[in-house]
């Protein structure tokens, strides 16, 4: 869209107003409980159950039907059960007699100072002191959790470190993954991080199948050590990887981007191919902007094309409009399940389309 400065200013004012309006209305954001329940039901069966739409009406009728059943049963038994149902047929609350088991012993108590994974963490010892005065229902015995193992591969790239771990396949209640970084190989099995380890951010996910992420915070040229871990909802470690290391490098340069007129209406872009490892390459993104002199894919600028072949070094576009000036750049992007980063890029070319 081609806007003059005044129009661009108006568009920005409208965008700001929209941002403010959306953020000022909390009711326009979904209730987290609703979001979680719908998510669970969709993923479990593909069909929302008795929580939404017409089914909610059915749910509301259930207590009434249950009351009628009780009434009929009471009459049949020669008892005035209708009195127990109440004047307004209020449904009897569901009994909650089942005692809740005590929490699982935590697996985080064992700090692993080596690069290997302890397979059998000790459960947290029982606290000493006076016995509880009130009898406690005997919970169902909980088996001692066994720490599962994950694999982890850390690949140092220009611009960051790619982290690939294996999906958790154990029987414990998976809640999320997080990978920790340290400058030494000592990364205890615990969260919050201990022993100098840090959470680099960007590796947390509650999606079991997501198993790759990027760390763009590692210092270039410095060896960083990583351990991937899976946690339950109480932040207990349920699986962990060995420690892997990698060295990130600075974002690479592909030099100048050559832009020239091709056939009528066409523009040809030519760049030096990325010579780094294939594990650091996902696409060339041919980004452009008419207004941003420093266009970037990660900055939200549009792109002419995504080229997935690392050996390709040119592209012909019909999208650029005659008479308009564009800022263009080719960026090498490495994408993972949880984020993408810039591996290398060309200089910005400014081009007036003839």
């Amino acid at each position: 869209m081609l806007l003059d400065p005044r129009e661009h200013e108006l568009a920005q004012d409208l965008a700001d107003a929209g941002d403010r309006a959306r953020s000022a209305d909390p009711d326009a954001r979904p209730n987290p409980n609703f979001a979680a329940a719908l998510r669970e039901e969709l993923l479990a069966s593909g069909k929302p159950a008795l929580r939404f739409g017409w089914a909610r009406t059915v749910r509301r009728l259930v207590p009434v039907v249950a009351g009628l059943v009780l009434l009929v049963a009471g009459i049949a038994a020669g008892r005035n059960l209708y009195l127990a149902v109440g004047d307004h047929a209020t449904p009897t609350p569901h009994p909650t007699a089942t005692p809740k088991p005590t929490p699982h012993p935590t697996a985080t108590a064992t700090a692993d100072s080596s690069a290997s994974v302890s397979p059998s963490p000790s459960p947290t010892p029982e606290p000493s002191g006076d016995p509880a005065p009130v009898p406690v229902p005997v919970p169902t015995p909980v088996p001692t959790p066994v720490l599962g193992s994950l694999s982890l591969v850390a690949t140092g790239c220009p611009g960051g470190v790619v982290l690939d771990w294996s999906m958790y396949g154990g029987t414990a209640a998976f809640n999320h993954y997080t990978t920790l970084r340290n400058l030494t190989a000592d990364i205890p099995l615990a969260y919050p991080p201990q022993g100098g380890a840090v959470d680099p951010g960007g590796t947390y996910t509650t999606v079991l199948a997501k198993s790759s992420a990027v760390d763009i915070g590692a210092d270039p040229g410095v060896t960083s050590y990583y351990r991937a871990m899976a946690f339950d909802a109480a932040n207990n470690v349920i699986a962990a990887s060995s420690v892997a290391s990698a060295v990130a490098q600075s974002v690479g340069s592909l030099g100048a981007l050559a832009v020239a007129a091709g056939d009528p209406g066409m523009t040809q872009l030519t760049w030096s191919i990325f010579g780094g490892p294939g594990g650091c390459f996902t696409w060339y993104k041919l980004v452009y902007s008419e207004t941003n002199p420093d266009p970037s894919y990660l900055g939200g600028d549009s792109y002419l094309a995504a080229v997935g072949n690392q050996a390709v070094g040119s592209y012909v576009s019909a999208a650029l409009v005659s008479g308009h000036t564009y800022y263009l750049r080719v960026q090498v992007i490495r994408a993972t399940d949880l984020g993408a980063f810039i591996v290398a890029q060309t200089d910005v070319a400014t081009y007036l389309v003839p």
Binding site: L3, G18, A21, D27, L38, R51, T205
Partner: protein, 187 residues
């Protein structure tokens, strides 16, 4: 959650297409699409109906249809987000049709359009929005209030991305023209 550009609220189109392809057999892929689009679709519906319960029901219906469509391979994988908005908009129209005479997206979009105009703090801009033809206000509302991109808004309105971009350009130009006399008067 989103393998999109950091610093932008858009899901990368390549990523979206990949997820839609995978979602046919991979629940985790659908979960990622759900996590990204749920707040947008819910907000879109809520802004039109101002009723949390109804918005939840219609949002659930929208994602249910999405899941079924993706699994049946009947979804044409161009703009999943745009398709979702279209389904949600139809659900809104269907709901409103049951309770009033309003029967089109244009009509049901007047409430959020008015709400958006009211929310603008800049007096001249707010007044100018109020004087725009409805078609222009609708385009501006979808783009800036609902935060739809050209693919999504185009799919919602049944036009191409390019056509929507042209409509948006015309709307902004019209807005500038409406405001210009005021600027002259003020000077």
């Amino acid at each position: 959650m989103v393998v999109a550009a950091a610093g932008t609220s858009r899901m990368d189109r390549d990523r979206e297409r990949t997820l839609v392809d995978r979602a046919r057999s991979d629940a985790a892929a659908f979960a990622e699409l759900y996590d990204f689009y749920l707040p947008r679709i819910y907000g879109f519906v809520y802004r039109r109906l101002q009723d949390r319960s109804v918005a939840e029901d219609l949002t659930a219906t929208t994602f249910q249809r999405a899941l079924e469509s993706v699994r049946r391979r009947s979804f044409r994988n161009d703009s999943f987000g745009g398709w979702l908005y279209r389904v949600a908009a139809n659900a809104v129209v269907d709901h409103v049709r049951k309770t009033s005479r309003l029967t089109t997206l244009d009509e049901t979009d007047r409430a959020p359009g008015d709400a958006f105009a009211t929310s603008i703090e800049h007096d001249e801009l707010r007044a100018a929005m109020g004087r725009l033809p409805w078609a222009h206000r609708q385009v501006l509302t979808l783009r800036f209030y609902d935060d739809l991109d050209a693919d999504e808004a185009g799919a919602l309105l049944g036009c191409s991305r390019g056509t929507f971009a042209v409509r948006l350009h015309r709307a902004i130009t019209a807005l500038r023209d409406v405001m210009a006399p005021e600027a002259t008067d003020a000077a």
